[in-house]
């Protein structure tokens, strides 16, 4: 159990009368790239937001890095967890450099260290610091903004990175190049745990070391992409896979 960086035990959650999660159990090892796949309303985003305490559980126990979330300082915890969201994640009133340095400033790093980190991170995500540092978010394309989002999430070198459908608002070509880059990024930092929520089955299978398929607040299957494809655990998983097969069939037909 030492390696379990994220652990959910019997977690339940409902908004009013609507049950979102019923008895959720899973654990994630340090360094894994987890993709969470589900339709909208399946509870996947809620699960992600519970890891950094933006949503709290009604029942059960969540622990992150061995700390029980119910009795730990959430503000401190969040500075250890990177977070990338779908669209308007960047603060519109701050430059790119300011956006990336939000958490370092909260941690009172000195300016030299902050500047250096910003430059390194921008280079890391494929943006030239000399060009982009002082630009405003609305001057960047969607794909570039999302690259900055990833850089910002990595600013304090956090052990965990949460990504909530980060690429779903982008066009197919931009999305593909970002998917490649995020996979390469994770290979470069094998100690970091990535928790990536998506509704795109191709993305989930391509990126994940393990894929968690969620439906109606329950885990249908949590296994490696190969296992999911070879041995779908439920009717729902098979249906998801059928869409991939259908596309492939169409592809073959056209060729």
């Amino acid at each position: 159990m030492v390696n379990d960086i994220i652990c959910f035990e019997h977690v339940t959650k409902s908004f009013g009368k609507r049950t979102i999660l019923q008895d959720l159990n899973f654990s994630v090892k340090q360094g894994e790239f987890i993709t969470v796949l589900g339709t909208s309303g399946s509870g996947k985003t809620t699960t992600l937001k519970m890891i950094n305490g933006l949503e709290t559980a009604d029942g059960g126990r969540i622990s992150v890095e061995g700390n029980n979330l119910a009795n730990c300082d959430l503000v401190k915890l969040r500075r250890h967890i990177g977070y990338v969201i779908q669209s308007i994640g960047l603060f519109p009133h701050m430059t790119i450099a300011q956006n990336i340095s939000v958490t370092p400033k909260l941690l009172k790093w000195d300016q030299k260290r902050i500047d250096q980190t910003v430059n390194e991170l921008l280079t890391e995500v494929g943006l030239d610091p000399a060009v982009y540092r002082e630009q405003m978010p609305n001057q960047l394309s969607g794909g570039q903004q999302q690259r900055v989002g990833v850089a910002r999430a990595l600013a304090t070198n956090p052990p965990i990175l949460l990504l909530d459908e980060p690429f779903s608002a982008l066009d197919a070509i931009t999305r593909q190049s970002l998917q490649k880059d995020i996979k390469a990024l994770h290979e470069k930092m094998p100690d970091k745990t990535f928790f990536f929520v998506t509704h795109d089955i191709n993305e989930a299978l391509y990126l994940g070391d393990r894929v968690m398929v969620v439906n109606h607040g329950q885990i249908e299957q949590f296994a490696s992409p190969k296992q999911v494809v070879d041995h779908p655990a439920s009717e729902f998983v098979s249906q998801l896979l059928a869409t991939v097969r259908q596309n492939r069939a169409l592809w073959e037909d056209l060729k």
Binding site: R79, F91, H93, L106
Partner: protein, 210 residues
């Protein structure tokens, strides 16, 4: 007509400056008070939907109540002069400040607040670094509307003995002295333009920086 106006300024520059000074003083005090009350009230309103609803209904109602009535209604109770004028003006200026503060804060998408929290901001840091800068253009717009309303109603305060540029118009109308009416009316119109254009430029600048 032009001669008469020039003559007025030659003879009564001191009087004019007195009225102008009174007018600006009246506006400054009332606006400051309206901001000091309106800002916290608006912030509370953004947190509490019930309070927000009350403020909204109240300011909608105030739109159709004549400002003249608001200014006059206190006279039989506390007499004439600066104090009833200031009370009435603060009251009139509150509505735009409160409603725009509420709208400004509520317009900020929830996801932006969540990002702030997940980057490790506490409530105060979130307020200072995210909510205030993003709500600022709305809030400034509220202050602009409040100032225009206060400035306009302050001209009416001449009727309750609070002085100001309205006195010129009021005297001019009753003595049928066109030079007074023109000087007073034109000054008031000009200052209103300056207020509006000035605030519009300021808001544009704030938006560009943000």
């Amino acid at each position: 007509m032009l001669e008469q106006i020039i003559k007025y300024f030659e003879n009564s520059a001191g009087e004019y400056c007195l009225y102008l000074g009174q007018h600006l003083e009246l506006c400054f005090i009332s606006l400051t008070a309206a901001i000091l009350i309106g800002l916290p009230l608006g912030y509370l309103g953004s947190k509490n939907a019930y309070l927000a609803k009350i403020c909204q209904t109240f300011s909608q109602l105030l739109r159709i109540v004549p400002s003249l009535a608001v200014i006059f209604i206190l006279i039989p109770i506390i007499g004439t002069g600066m104090l009833p004028a200031i009370l009435a003006l603060v009251f009139l200026g509150l509505a735009p400040i409160v409603t725009n503060t509420i709208v400004g804060i509520n317009e900020i998408p929830n996801s932006i607040k969540e990002v702030g929290l997940s980057l490790g901001m506490n409530e105060w840091q979130l307020f200072k670094q995210v909510i205030v800068p993003l709500a600022l253009p709305y809030w400034l717009n509220g202050v602009k509307l409040a100032l225009i309303e206060i400035f306009a109603s302050a001209t009416l305060a001449a009727y309750i003995g609070a002085g100001g540029l309205g006195t010129l118009i009021f005297t001019g109308l009753s003595l049928y002295r066109m030079d007074y009416v023109i000087v007073g009316g034109f000054s008031v119109a000009l200052i209103s333009f300056v207020i509006m254009v000035g605030f519009d430029l300021l808001i544009r600048k704030v938006k560009q920086n943000g």
